[in-house]
Every structure is written in C-alpha cells, then in structure tokens.
C-alpha cells in the first residue's frame, strides 16, 4: 500500500481522494442527502403525531369538520385543503417541465415555468396563512381547542408550520435560480444541473404534503 501522510493533510487527502460512490453531479448527491435527513424530521413529526393521537383519551377533532368551509351557504368538507393539494401537484408538474426545458437549453421558457412554480407555491402559503388565522380565530391553540383532544393543535401547528416553512424557503430558492437562469448565468458553462437540483427540493415539498394530507387531514 502506498504510504501517505496522516493527520489533517491525510484526512483531507482521504476525503477528497477522487473516490466517488454516487456517479451524479455532487450538488445532486448533496441535495438527496439533505432530503433524506429532512425525511427523518418529518417522519419523526408524523410518528409523534401518531403517538399522541393513539394515546389521547379525549376524542380527536374530526378534520373533515374542522377544515370545512362554508361557500355560498353549502358546507364543503376539507375544500381548502383539497385546493391546496391540487395547487401543489400542479406546481410539481410545472417544475418537472422546467427541468426538461433547462436541459433543452431553452432558458426563457425554463425561467418562466420556474416562476409559475414559485407563484403557485406562494399562493399555497397564503392559503395556509388563511387556514391558520381561521383556526386561531376559532380558538385552536397548541395547548387546547374547543373540539376535543388538546394534542390536536400542537400537531397541527407544528407539522403544517414546518411544511409551510419549507414551501416558503422553496419559493425563495426557485425565484433566485429562475432569475439566474433568465439572466443567462449558466449559459457559459452550459450546466443546468442546478434546475434539476432545485426541482428535487420542490418535489420533496410536494411529497411531504402527500403524507400530511393522507395522515393528518384524511385519517
């Protein structure tokens, strides 16, 4: 075996020693690893929610009724949540198309699709703000609510709040990348991996919502 220096310089040499496990652009590997750690955060939140819901002795508030809206005199269960779900899926679709156009080097179309994605994300956050205000006005707090088990509020605010924070960060992230794509920042190198990497983050936000929608709102 070749004799190499140890200590700090040896460690740097080992860690930068041209041995790749994942044959993808480094940014993509890093984004996947970040998303994996995020999976554990949301997974732990949802597991915590499951635990307090099973252990609650008071009845769990019925999400179908808590999140119902009355539009034109008709009470529609979960309607806003359904609209939010469709908006997020639509934004995932526009993001997937943006990645496609980025690799075709049609940067004007790509930037426009990314901005549409960010705008849909922003409207999602607005609806969530509306939902929060409505629930707070009805007396739902992290420590109690008028409809049943006290743990409901803590789960709701923590899980949807953390997800909303991710959407907000995604809107900012996508807007920055879209602006740079439009300016032609990546044109010189011809490397548009960044759009796919930003897309991974955005699809992940949609993915987390799929789980929240099923396990929190529909269960």
């Amino acid at each position: 075996m070749e004799k190499t220096s140890d200590g700090w310089s040896g460690m740097v040499a080992d860690w930068s020693g041209d041995r790749e496990a994942f044959r993808v652009p480094w940014g993509k590997a890093m984004m996947w690893i970040f998303l994996l750690s995020d999976t554990f955060i949301f997974g732990s939140f949802l597991t915590g929610y499951m635990s307090v819901r099973i252990a609650a002795t008071a009845g769990w508030p019925n999400p179908s009724e808590v999140f119902a809206l009355t539009i034109g005199g008709v009470q529609l269960p979960l309607i806003l949540i359904a609209i939010m779900t469709f908006i997020l899926i639509t934004s995932s679709g526009t993001m997937a198309m943006a990645v496609n156009y980025a690799y075709r080097r049609e940067r004007a179309v790509c930037a426009r699709l990314m901005l549409v994605t960010a705008a849909l994300g922003a409207s999602f956050v607005c609806m969530q703000a509306f939902e929060w205000s409505k629930l707070i006005a009805e007396g739902v707090r992290p420590w109690g609510n008028p409809d049943g088990a006290a743990q409901f509020g803590a789960c709701f605010f923590m899980i949807t709040g953390f997800h909303g924070l991710h959407v907000t960060a995604g809107v900012i992230y996508l807007s920055i990348v879209a602006a740079r794509v439009r300016r032609g920042h990546y044109e010189a190198g011809g490397n548009y991996d960044i759009v796919e990497i930003a897309g991974l983050y955005w699809h992940f936000v949609d993915l987390v919502w799929v789980f929240i929608f099923a396990l929190f709102y529909l269960w």
Binding site: A21, F22, R23, V24, P25, A29, W32, L35, L36, T39, F40, G43, S44, L46, T47, G48, M50, S51, V52, I54, A55, A56, T57, S64, P77, L78, A82, T85, F86, I89, T90, S92, G93, M95, A96, M97, V99, N100, Y103, R104, E196, G199, L200, H203, F204, D206, L207, V210, F211, F213, A214, L215, Y217, L218, W219
Partner: protein
C-alpha cells in the same frame, strides 16, 4: 455525465394521474367511508402518489442502484420507529384509561 432528459408527454401523464389519485383520496372523505376500507384506501393512494413523485418527477427510477438504495433503505428505520411508538402509545392509552379517568 448523462442527463435526466425524458419526454414531456411522460410528465403530463404522471401529472394527470396524480390529479386523479388526489381526487380519489378527497372522495374517500367526501363519501364518508369508514373503518378499514377508509384506512386502506388512504394508505394505498398515498403510496401510489409518493411513488410516482419519487420515481418520475425526482427521476429516481433512472438513477443508479447505489443512489437508489442509499435513499430508499434508511427511511425503513422510520417504519421501525413508528411500529415501536404504536405499541408504546397503545400502552400509554390503556394506562391512562386505567388510572387517569
């Protein structure tokens, strides 16, 4: 480095499918389905949507196996955690019913 370039038609099909699946999971609530039928449908539709997003939108089905397993295997630990907490919280519930009512 190969790029993730796939026909737009595929994305549109998956997009449409996600819409249909979401509409179906909303209808589970709208039609007031209850019990095991409701839970099975919710979980099945959830897994179908998650699978489509990860496989097609996030391009995981075209990635190399090394990356695929590095991403898909660790979350299995979460299932173990959820299983343990399920047992634990059942125990908590029974204890509360016994002593704190």
């Amino acid at each position: 480095m190969e790029q993730q370039q796939h026909p737009i038609g595929l994305y549109l099909k998956v997009w449409l499918l996600l819409f249909v699946l979401s509409a179906m999971s909303y209808m589970v609530d709208l039609f007031h389905l209850h019990g095991y039928l409701r839970w099975t449908l919710i979980l099945l539709l959830m897994m179908a949507k998650a699978g489509l997003i990860v496989a097609v939108f996030m391009h995981l089905r075209w990635e190399r196996a090394a990356l695929m397993y590095a991403i898909l295997a660790p979350p299995a630990c979460l299932l173990v955690l959820a299983w343990l907490m399920w047992i634990e919280s059942d125990h908590t519930f029974l204890t509360r019913m016994e002593y704190f009512r």
